[in-house]
């Protein structure tokens, strides 16, 4: 490509300082005339190549190292430290600027920007990148923990933002990203808008906008999201074409921030606390932007460097706060999920118990009564009974006994009336007598009274574990302990059965039922077993505090 401007300045025109003592710094300012103040696409206006010569000393070229990348909208200025011995007669500047006319100004100044400052800037860039990387990792873990679309977009946003930073500050991160000015400009723009698009989608998902917003706003949001993904492509296409078209495209980009802001405000006014927090997180960035606009309009004397600094600080604050808010949100959702799960388990188990109770009642009251009646009738026959009648009577007798046993097993009648400990005592005694397995019950004195539902859960867990110990473990002795622990009670069932490998065996339906019951109470349920070493089953039920059941 041909150089657009080739201009040599004599140093006499711009000299503001006497050169009796040679200056230590040369400042070159490149000014590009813009269509107006509302020019947005500053990224594209850096010259491709700048070559500077002082007399016969060649100081450039600078095109490859791009030291002017961080300069603000209107100007690209460059401070070059000088190590001059003699007087200077001529200054030679060469610039390749493919997109239109530009003006170059150069003057010598005393030491304003020292070489150390450049290093500090590189260090600052590294710091920013490191910090962003840390937040990126945190959000990545969040996503892994939650696996929700919104968090995925948030991570994508950070990835794009990081890539953007690395590309934009190419000179500082040449080790991360090859500094190639020919297309890094376009890439940085593309990445910036990609990041914004991801952030918009993150907002759409985390605020559940499609559900909350009216149809028009929804369409606008979706449209704006699409726009933001198309925009980078448009930029690539327009990169080397018309400036005015670029400006128009640049203006287009206001739509999404406005819809995003609108959505946030809408949710915040509908008392969505998450939206409110996100709005608050945006404040530092908004302040930075306002400050930037003020600087642009000449309200501040602080200068362009501090504008970039303010914006950077604002953006970092925003990112930090947003991530913290998300961590809080994840916590909240996790708590809500656990509560829901607990409620669900409670419902399922409660329903099952309800059925059991009904069936038990039916067995006891209806079938039990009928068999009773049959027995009475058979008995009333007295001596008239034949042998086969007698056998029938015996069958009816045993049927009656089994019915009663089944009914008691389905729903222990004494649990509600006499309390858990007595019911357990009864259960142990019954089990003892029936199976010959020694069951010992140990209770700490002064156990707190548990809610009726908890009593039933604990009773069922014990019932199931005793059956397991006898049927599957072949245990001969079981110790049942109901003891007080700080903030709750602990139920422990230890048997001397065959055991199983609790690392490998998942446990059957009975185990799942016990664990469901434990979850319904918000308790901690642990089963430990090794082959040949018996089984220990432990349930810690919190009664006080936040997760307390009582």
């Amino acid at each position: 490509m041909d150089p657009v401007r080739f201009r040599a300045l004599s140093n006499g025109e711009r000299m503001e300082f006497g050169l009796a003592a040679p200056p230590s710094l040369l400042r070159v300012v490149l000014e590009v005339p813009f269509p107006g103040r509302w020019w947005f696409v500053s990224e594209l206006r850096t010259p491709r190549r700048l070559e500077i010569r002082l007399g016969s000393n060649v100081l450039g070229p600078f095109g490859e190292s791009r030291p002017f990348k961080e300069r603000p909208v209107a100007t690209t200025d460059l401070a070059i430290p000088l190590d001059l011995k003699g007087p200077i007669d001529t200054l030679f500047l060469l610039v390749e600027e493919p997109k239109g006319p530009c003006v170059l100004k150069a003057h010598f100044t005393p030491d304003r920007l020292l070489p150390g400052e450049v290093e500090a800037r590189t260090f600052g860039n590294g710091l920013i990148l490191g910090y962003m990387l840390a937040i990126f990792l945190v959000s990545g873990f969040l996503w892994l923990a939650v696996r929700e679309k919104a968090f995925g977009w948030y991570v994508a946003y950070f990835a794009a933002a990081l890539a953007w930073l690395a590309v934009k500050r190419g000179s500082a991160f040449a080790w991360v990203w090859p500094d190639h000015p020919a297309w890094n400009d376009g890439a940085s723009v593309a990445l910036a808008y990609l990041a914004m698009g991801c952030f918009a989608l993150f907002l759409v998902h985390i605020l559940e906008l499609p559900r909350h917003l009216p149809r028009l706003a929804r369409a606008l949001t979706v449209g704006a999201c699409i726009e933001f993904f198309l925009l980078p492509i448009a930029f690539f296409c327009l990169l080397n074409f018309n400036r005015m078209a670029l400006t128009l495209v640049g203006w287009f980009q206001v739509i999404l921030p406005l819809t995003m802001l609108g959505a946030l405000l809408h949710r915040a006014f509908s008392r969505d606390r998450l939206a409110l927090w996100l709005l608050i997180a945006f404040l530092p960035l908004a302040l930075g932007m306002i400050y930037g606009v003020l600087v642009e309009f000449g309200f501040s004397a602080a200068g362009p460097a501090s504008k970039a600094f303010v914006l950077a600080v604002g953006a970092l604050c925003e990112n930090t706060m947003t991530t913290l808010i998300l961590i809080r949100e994840v916590h909240r959702r996790e708590r809500a999920r656990l509560a829901l799960e607990r409620e669900f388990h409670a419902k399922v188990v409660e329903q099952a118990d309800g059925y059991f109770r009904e069936v038990a009642q039916e067995l006891h009251d209806d079938l039990g009564q009928r068999t009773f009646s049959m027995r009475m009738q058979l008995f009333a026959q007295g001596a008239a009974l034949t042998d086969s009648d007698r056998r029938l009577a015996e069958t009816v007798d045993s049927l009656h006994k089994d019915l009663r046993k089944l009914s008691r097993r389905l729903h222990p009648p004494q649990l509600r009336e006499n309390g858990l400990q007595d019911a357990l005592e009864d259960l142990c005694r019954g089990f003892d007598a029936e199976s010959g397995m020694q069951v010992r019950l140990v209770c700490t004195p002064g156990l707190p009274e548990l809610p009726v539902a908890a009593n039933l859960h604990l009773y069922r867990i014990v019932q199931e574990s005793l059956v397991n110990a006898h049927r599957h473990g072949g245990a001969t002795e079981v110790e049942l302990a109901l003891i007080r622990i700080p903030g709750g009670v602990r139920l422990a069932v230890t048997d001397n059965g065959n055991g199983f490998d609790s690392e490998v065996v998942e446990g059957g339906l009975g185990m799942a039922g016990m664990s469901s019951r434990a979850q319904a109470m918000g308790g901690q349920f642990v089963v430990r077993s090794r082959v040949g070493h018996g089984t220990r089953l432990q349930l810690d039920l919190p009664l006080e505090g936040k997760g307390g059941y009582a």
Partner: protein, 196 residues
């Protein structure tokens, strides 16, 4: 001689029929009436005098034993129920029943119980040794020990996180099991006999 008249109260018609059948067979001199609810029982008691009532515990409009406790004027009553619960048997005795028999028992035992009560005996299987012979449950032992330590139920209910009414019912059961009706006697009996 006027025949003995027995009122059978049970909400299950088949059960009533079975009982009436057996009574008719075993006690030819007895005449039976039937009622299915407590309300019906009250009406029939008002209408005429009955010598004897066989009462189910679990009825559609209330609990038989509680009804008996509220109506001490009822004729001698035998509680006949599906439950075979010592506690319930104890309650029946306290409510003034003359006997307690479970439907799970063998028919000849049920007939035996009816016969015993008819000749104005009492029939409480398992309770023959008087309530003092009954073992205390874990909770009852705890309450008794605390009472022996001179602790008040108010403090206990706070310490154990148990309602006072629950503790009261334990105390009442202790009274029954020790055959006493006040705290001083309970303490004396417990000290005399040992706890448990």
């Amino acid at each position: 001689m006027k025949p003995v008249e027995i009122l059978v109260v049970d909400d299950h018609p088949l059960t009533r029929a079975g009982i009436v059948l057996v009574i008719g067979k075993e006690f030819p001199e007895v005449r039976c009436g039937e009622a299915s609810t407590l309300g019906e029982l009250q009406e029939m008691l008002k209408a005429r005098a009955w010598d004897f009532v066989i009462l189910d515990h679990n009825l559609s409009d209330g609990k038989g034993i509680e009804h008996l406790a509220r109506h001490p004027e009822m004729p001698p009553t035998l509680i006949l129920t599906m439950y075979e619960d010592r506690e319930l048997s104890l309650q029946a005795r306290c409510a003034g029943a003359r006997g307690f028999v479970s439907k799970a028992d063998a028919p000849h035992e049920i007939v035996g119980a009816i016969r015993t009560v008819l000749v104005s005996g009492v029939h409480f299987p398992g309770l023959e040794a008087a309530p003092e012979g009954l073992p205390l449950s874990v909770r009852e032992q705890e309450v008794l020990k605390a009472l022996l330590d001179g602790r008040r139920l108010v403090d206990l209910s706070k310490d154990w996180n148990v309602t006072q009414s629950t503790l009261q019912s334990y105390k009442k059961r202790l009274y029954i099991k020790y055959g006493v009706d006040n705290l001083a006697d309970l303490v004396r009996a417990a000290v005399h006999r040992g706890v448990g």
